[in-house]
Amino acid sequence: MNFKFQIFKFSITLPSILTALMLFSGNTFAGLTIKANHDNIKIDFFYHGSTVSVKGASDPGVDLIIKITSPDGHEVLKQKGKAAGFLWMNTGTLNFEHTPNLYSLHSTKKLEDILSREEAEKYIIGYSALNRHIEIKPVNNESEKATWFKEFIRFKESSKLYAASAGKIAVTLKDGRQEYYILTDWPYQAPPGDYFVTVHAVKDKKVIETAEANVHVEQVGSVKLLAQMAENSAATYGIISILIAVAAGFGVGLIFKKGGAH
């Protein structure tokens, strides 16, 4: 019985180990490495964004693409248009599906010079690939979609949540390995959550290796307490907000009354 159990255990563990090895080799085989220096960003009262440096090593002679994203979500945005032919106002809402809230992309060279369109779409690299990945509703045709996608990118870039650069990754050769480094601004507009930092090694317009790290952003201390209270104890939060406002109003009134008596 003990022997049977051993075989049973072996038959379960061997495929698991092989699968794990295969998965592992898919990500970091040949030693593409990645490390984000700041993998746990804490939001306190004095938080005003941060910086995240991404570094690692790859085989020499490959180009690199670093992508920082949040998981896909959806956004509902107000759409401005002309009413009565000449007045700009909100004319409707647009739903953007499968959109990452944060999308920051950096590459050693211009994307179109180092990556094929198919590969870019497969790994959702670059705004053109993102355009095909995102669904916008309601739009009548592709050109309308393209127009609103362009507006969406402008909207996200204006709040620093989307960014793209080429040639800003520093690359050096050391002991036969290619080391890379980039320092990126982490926008304070990025809400708490989990973010993925992915590096793709690219050769002959194809992604040949991928490695990934995570950045976790969380509220701490009183910021967390207040945010949770606003959400979970809304009535108490509302009453406290009103009472403090009334008390502050009276308080300042009393101070001025004293000041005015002189």
Partner: protein, 311 residues
Amino acid sequence: MNFMYLYLPVALTSINLLIPVGLGLAVGLLSGLFGVGGGFLMTPLLIMFGIPSSVAAATDSNQIVAASTSGTYAHWKVGNVDFKMGLYLLIGGFIGGLAGVQVIKILKATGNVDFVIKMTYVIMLGIIGTYMFVESLQSMKKAKNQSQESGVKSQESGLTRFLKALPFQTRFEKSGVTHSLLVPLVFGVFVGVLAALMGVGGGFIMVPVMVYILRMPMHVVVGTSLFQILFNCIEVTFLQAYTNHNVDFILAILLLFGSTIGAQVGTKFGRKLKADQLKIILAGIVLVVTVKIIFELTLTPSLLLAQGGGH
């Protein structure tokens, strides 16, 4: 870490401390001077500084609670609050607010809500601003020539005669006027509907109503308007916090730090100005806001997408 910036837990953004404190001070000053909540100025300014629109509107009403408490208290101390009149306007305003919300629902269903709101804004602000401006200019001129025309008695308008003929006439001691109870109630409803439609407290509509229709003295108008705004904003703050979770307490504190002081300074400064001077400055501000809205409506916006929320 930068001590000039503070992170806002509900707005989920960081802001330079001086911005909300400075904005609060400026808007509080207007509040103490003219008896307006200043929502029509504050909310767009907050959005301009990166606060999501729904949080900006909700937090502003929280801040107005503090500024109007401070202002009402300062005006009450010098006997400028007509509580009786304020109460009737408040009841009317409450009913009007409920009706206004229903009107918005109907407009939303027809898809015309934004057009109607913007047009109401421009037309109401334009008419009120121009009327106040012209009227106070004329009355300032009249004051200059008063010695020559001192015997001329002002004629009663048709509206005044109609208001006097209404039942339930009662004396409002503090304001020194006699009106039917129905008058503040009905005008309260009217302002309440407009305020709900325009998404603002309605102080800048209420003030002209009290000055020109209810014929109350300007200084009592300011105190009574603040009293009425205080209760309106308490209700709005609670509803916003309870149903939409978008009152940012920290932002409100920064704003009210400026606005409570501004309201006191405004009240003191206002007492040094004559009623006509106050009216003409308010008319000027209302007209500037009207022009700003007209520009916004006609110039191509820099971004064609905006965050959802609000109405």
